[in-house]
């Protein structure tokens, strides 16, 4: 167990420093890149908060769908192979639910303001 503050809190503090203090001292392309850097830290923060439990859920769904054990990467590679060879497809029970859950998690981490994500969340209600 690590000490406080948490990794997510540290990353958040750095993002706040960039936005609230550093950016006002920068100009042009460097200011643009600083904004991109702060956005990247936001991704890291969300991943630290969301991914651990989401990955556990993803692995459980993949094991049920594929009927085998493995690491998250092995299971994803197996799913890819079975979709490619046609063994699993849109009609396979559980596939689209799994892909939706996994994809919505990715977007919640990567780009929660993306129009397609926001619309998909509304449509799923």
């Amino acid at each position: 167990m690590q000490d406080q503050p948490t990794a997510a809190e540290l990353v958040e503090a750095v993002a706040e420093f960039i936005r609230n203090h550093a950016m006002s001292q920068l100009q042009g392309h460097t200011a643009f890149h600083a904004r991109v850097a702060a956005n990247a830290l936001d991704i890291v923060k969300r991943e630290l908060e969301i991914a651990p439990s989401a990955n556990t859920g993803e692995a459980a769904r993949l094991k049920a769908l594929l009927g085998r054990e493995g690491t998250l990467e092995e299971l994803n590679r197996e799913l890819c192979a079975r979709i490619e060879n046609g063994a699993i497809g849109l009609e396979t029970p559980g596939l689209t639910d799994h892909l939706w859950a996994t994809t919505l998690t990715k977007l919640a981490i990567d780009q929660p303001n993306y129009s397609g994500y926001k619309r998909a969340v509304e449509e799923g209600r």
Binding site: H33, A40, L79, C80, I83, G86, L104, D110, A120, E123
Partner: protein
Amino acid sequence: MIRSSTAGLSVRVTDMGVEENPLSAPLAAVVRNHIPGATGITNLKRLSGGASQETWSFDVTTAGKEPVLLILRRAPGGARDSRATAVPLETEARLIDLAGHADVPVPTVRHVLAPDDDLGHGFIMDRIAGETIARKILRDDEFAAARPKLARQCGEILARLHRIKMESLPPLRTSPARSEIMQYLETYKAHGHPHPVFELAFRWLKDNAPPEKTAHTLVHGDFRNGNLMIGPDGVRAVLDWELAHIGDPMEDLGWICVNSWRFGNIDQPVGGFGSREDMFEGYESAGGLKVDPARVKYWEVLGTLKWGVMCTIMVTAFKSGTDRSVERATIGRRSSETEVDLLRLLAPRN
């Protein structure tokens, strides 16, 4: 592939102009020989960076008359582009010329560089005033009157572009859906990271590919918001012809509908500014083939996947050290945007 642009995501204009540019002297000589009344050049500025092409803006000074505003498109360092999918600049110039004669709005090509111009491969064309930055086109008041007209204009322009006589075209690669799929599948596999949603899309695209005998025409290949020069009056010029090829004309109609090019205006499928119906009406009224909406959707799926694969391979340049910028790094985390778009197209929940 999809131009340095990484497609309108980044700022298009970076001023890299310097006083003693080595291009200045040969360019001044070229304009004196080829632009009537030209005395020299000023304001030479690099507009877009990028591995595939350089774009330079400059003004030609004339004896006692208005300056002539021009653009130089040139291969980096004057070398020929080595990418398989991009057309040579001489071909691009020829296509722009043909398009102009077919009433497609394009800049007039003033001169195609020859070996003794000492500037490498490229061409010089008119600089048309207007805006290419998609978010400005979609938000700024200046374009409010133009926006409702754009989808129909895009349809009309594509109809004229697709009607350009095949026998008049310079040599171009032929790339129907299946070869586009195989090309991007290879790129995706080479990258190596597993994307089950991409696999599902590849599978769906293979299973639903248009029949081999589908009519082929000239296809622009990158006709979207970001590659159109827009003025308050509407579309002023179609730019970036480097991905032109022979293929299914519905490809151009589908690509401009990809959600990534709607820049947040998700309910305006054509470029974020208009409806498919308006574009299809414009297309058919200007003499285009009958639109097949299912095939347009097919190409929207393929286009969404293409952009997703492009985002993932941005990571390669970052990881290999070719480009360690934060901007490059984070584009990899945008491939998930195309995954949610692909699921909404292939497995909608509502």
